[in-house]
């Protein structure tokens, strides 16, 4: 049954969406959008590393994404503000990755596929990685859910309740690196952050609780993946960008609907 490439693509998109939606809520709540971008852009460097060392792309991307996150966390709070550092890390890892890939001898790489995703080329092994990674992310979030929410609301309140917000941030960093590693095949390094932010932002208009927002964001992200896949098939447009474009359109609708609801 998994022989159909469209079905595999659909499953890949849904798998990513289910993990990216809830994690994206934390990205939105904690204003980590740029952090997500930096981690995602580092993925290209991870691809180069994986190709050079002949290890799996997933492992290479995961390692570099974690390293980029650690660099940002380690450098924060000194002479430069975090968003400046994030800008440096985001773009230099992307540039370094592109340079590194071009230096690899004898490897023909479809760079566009890594930048914008290649969901139609998802194989069974990719599917296993995507769903495995998504399950790991959801597992992490479910396990740490209450401490994560508390630390997100206020670090000092968390400390006073015996929760260490730094530990919770590490959990999120790990989850983020996992999503990046999973998503690179689906929407590509340049658009990963959009799958985190747009569904969560759209869900905000309707949610009354953090759990509701996470569930809605998951549904929205999975729905956008399916609708984007369909639209891309229908109009013969690149799939990754089409998924993001559909999500963006959905966000606009959600924004308008949210306003209408509040005015009632």
């Amino acid at each position: 049954m998994l022989d159909d490439f469209l079905l595999r693509a659909a499953l890949a998109g849904v798998g990513l969406g289910l993990a990216a939606g809830p994690l994206g809520c934390f990205v939105v709540w904690r204003r980590m959008a740029y952090f997500g971008d930096a981690t995602a852009h580092a993925a290209i460097l991870g691809v180069a590393l994986a190709l050079a060392l002949e290890i799996s792309i997933f492992a290479g991307v995961l390692a570099v994404a974690l390293a980029a996150a650690a660099v940002v966390a380690g450098l924060g709070g000194r002479a430069h503000s975090t968003d400046t550092l994030l800008g440096v890390v985001a773009h230099s890892t992307l540039a370094l990755g592109l340079v590194a890939v071009s230096l690899l001898d004898g490897v023909r790489v479809d760079l566009l596929g890594y930048l914008f995703g290649d969901i139609l080329a998802v194989g069974r092994a990719d599917l296993a990685v995507i769903w495995g990674g998504a399950a790991a992310v959801l597992g992490l979030l479910a396990w740490r859910w209450r401490p994560l929410l508390t630390a997100t609301l206020n670090a000092d309140l968390a400390f006073a309740s015996g929760i260490d917000p730094r530990r919770e941030r590490m959990v999120l960093t790990l989850a983020l690196a996992l999503v990046v590693a999973v998503a690179i095949k689906v929407v590509g390094a340049l658009l990963i952050a959009s799958m985190l932010i747009i569904p969560a932002a759209a869900a905000r208009s309707f949610a009354r609780s953090p759990e509701g927002m996470a569930a809605l964001a998951a549904l929205f992200a999975a729905g956008a993946a399916l609708a984007g896949l369909g639209a891309s098939f229908h109009w013969d447009t690149p799939t990754g960008p089409t998924i993001v474009a559909v999500a963006a359109a959905g966000f606009a609708v959600a924004l308008a609907a949210g306003r209408a609801i509040r005015q009632d």
Binding site: R146, L149, L153, N154, L157, A160
Partner: protein, 246 residues
Amino acid sequence: MSLIDAENVTVRLGGQTVLEAVDFRIARGEIVTVVGPNGSGKSTLIRTLVGALRPARGRVRRAPGLSIGYVPQRLHLDETMPVTVGRFLDLPDPQPPEAVAAVLARVGLPGLVGRSLRGLSGGQFQRVLLARALLRDPDILVLDEPTQSLDQPGTAEFYKLIEQVRAETGCAVLMVSHDLHVVMSASDRVICINGHVCCEGTPTVVSAAPEYRALFGPGTGGTMALYRHEHDHGHEHAHAHGPGDG
């Protein structure tokens, strides 16, 4: 043993020493108030004691299993997260709905369980914070300028509530306050800090201490007299660094 015991604590923030060699302890059931001018490190001390800041030197020990009810000075809540009052009180660990309803009634906000946090006024939010602090049977209530966003009747009510809670549960209270007259009438012990401990002792002792007068002027002494039961026998006899829990 003490609930919280800090020994020779030095705290640096952004390369600057905010607190230096501070000793502090609070016993079960004690009411201790921290006073001091702006920027003297009051909030830093509180945040270090609850574990939010790590001292550069010295150590802070908390009694094992200590339940801290903490009401921070300012709480910036990001409006991006949809949270109702009930859900907020339910974090980090779930609480029985009856207990939540009871504590909300207690702080004067009955029936607000389903209200969104961002719809609350400053005073309401402050009382929700207090409710959250009370909900987990705290051994100690830690209040960092809790009445900052309250008007005068609100402030009086707030302190009355704290007193009631204290009388019922016997929990210790550690607070930072600018409401000097209230502080002085209700505290077992007052600690005046200005980067270090200036003086410490019973309200009478502290209000008479030259270090305290240098920081706050003699004017507050007059205000306080209204709130004190016994007469002030003149500050020349006071021991600025005398033990507080006599």
